[in-house]
C-alpha cells in the first residue's frame, strides 16, 4: 500500500513538473536595473515564478504553470507596460 502511494505521489509530481513552461524573453531597452524594477513587479502580478533579469544578455526569464493563461500577447503587454520592447519569446518545457 505504501509502495503504491509513493508511486502515485511521484507520478503526480512529475506530471506537475512537466506542465510548467520555462520562458525566455529577449527585451529591448533594458539597460538599467533601477528602471527595470517594474518588470519583476509586473511578472509577479501575473503569477509567474522564478523571475530572473539578465541585463548582460537582455533576458527576462520565468516559469509559467499555465501556458494558456500567460500567452505571448500577455507577456508582450507586461513588458510594454514596463516601458520596454520585445525582441523574441522562447519557450521550453
Amino acid at each position: 500500500m505504501l509502495k503504491k502511494t509513493i508511486i502515485m505521489i511521484s507520478l503526480l509530481t512529475s506530471m506537475s513538473a512537466m506542465a510548467a513552461t520555462k520562458v525566455n524573453v529577449t527585451v529591448q531597452g533594458m539597460v538599467c536595473s533601477f528602471c527595470s524594477q517594474g518588470i519583476t513587479k509586473k511578472f509577479t502580478e501575473l503569477g509567474t515564478k522564478d523571475i530572473k533579469v539578465d541585463l548582460a544578455n537582455h533576458l527576462v526569464s520565468f516559469v509559467v504553470e499555465d501556458e494558456k493563461k500567460i500567452t505571448d500577447e500577455v507577456i508582450t503587454k507586461a513588458l510594454v507596460d514596463s516601458g520596454y520592447g520585445v525582441e523574441k519569446i522562447e519557450k521550453s518545457n
Binding site: 529591448q28 531597452g29 517594474g38 530572473k52 537582455h58 516601458g83
Partner: protein
C-alpha cells in the same frame, strides 16, 4: 510594497537625508502603476516631486520648488502632467523624450505660474547623457520668469547586474537665470540598488549636492 528590514532602515535613512539633497533629474514617467518620489534640497534650490504613472506614457504629479534668487526665496506649488513623447528601445540602449506641463502658484503674492519642461535622455549599460530645459512662467510679469537648463553626461566604471549595486560617475552643468551665479558644474557619484537611487556631488561653487529617488 512589502519591504524587508534592511530596506525599511534604508527608507528611513534616505527620508532623513532627503532634506540635504539637490537637483535630481526625475523619471517623469515610469512603468504603469509606479509611484516615483524625487527630493532635492540645497542652499540655492529645492525640488520635491511626486509622480504616479497612470500609463507607460503619462504620469500625474505634484511639485514643490524653492529658488533662492538674489537673496530672496521664491516658493512654488504645481500640479503637473507628464508625457513620454517618444521612446527608442534598442537591444543595448534606450532613448526618451518627455514633456511636462504644470499649473500652480507662488507662495509669495499668490501669483499664477505655468511650469513647462522638456527632457531627453539616452543610455546604455555603460554611458548616459541627459538634457532638461524648464521655464517657470509668471502669468502677469514675464520679467519674473525663471529659466533652468541642465545637461548631464556619465559612465559606469563597471557593469553591475540586476541585483547588484550600480555605480555611475556623472558630470552635470546647470544654468538658472536670476541666481547670483547662473552657471554651475557638479561631478556626481550615483549609486542605485533595486528601486532606490542616490547621488552625491560637490559643485564648483562649493555647495554639496545630494539627490534621492525611489520607485514604488
Amino acid at each position: 510594497m512589502e519591504l524587508d528590514v534592511p530596506s525599511k532602515f534604508l527608507s528611513l535613512f534616505v527620508i532623513v537625508l532627503m532634506s540635504y539633497s539637490n537637483n535630481l533629474m526625475a523619471h517623469t514617467v515610469s512603468f504603469k502603476g509606479a509611484h516615483a518620489l524625487n527630493f532635492s534640497n540645497s542652499d540655492e534650490m529645492s525640488m520635491w516631486t511626486y509622480n504616479y504613472s497612470r500609463t507607460p506614457k503619462n504620469s500625474l504629479g505634484a511639485n514643490y520648488y524653492r529658488f533662492d534668487l538674489a537673496g530672496k526665496s521664491e516658493r512654488f506649488y504645481f500640479l503637473e502632467t507628464n508625457f513620454l513623447l517618444k521612446r527608442w528601445n534598442e537591444l543595448s540602449s534606450q532613448g526618451n523624450l518627455y514633456l511636462s506641463l504644470g499649473q500652480g502658484v507662488s507662495e509669495t503674492k499668490t501669483q499664477y505660474h505655468s511650469d513647462v519642461a522638456i527632457e531627453a535622455d539616452w543610455e546604455t549599460r555603460k554611458y548616459y547623457t541627459a538634457f532638461k530645459t524648464q521655464g517657470i512662467l509668471n502669468h502677469k510679469d514675464s520679467s519674473k520668469n525663471i529659466y533652468y537648463t541642465k545637461y548631464r553626461v556619465g559612465f559606469a566604471p563597471y557593469l553591475a547586474e540586476f541585483d547588484q549595486i550600480n555605480t555611475w560617475i556623472i558630470l552635470e552643468t546647470k544654468y538658472v537665470n536670476k541666481m547670483k551665479e547662473e552657471f554651475s558644474i557638479t561631478p556626481f557619484v550615483r549609486l542605485f540598488y533595486q528601486n532606490f537611487l542616490m547621488e552625491i556631488g560637490i559643485s564648483n561653487k562649493g555647495t554639496s549636492e545630494f539627490n534621492f529617488m525611489v520607485h514604488i
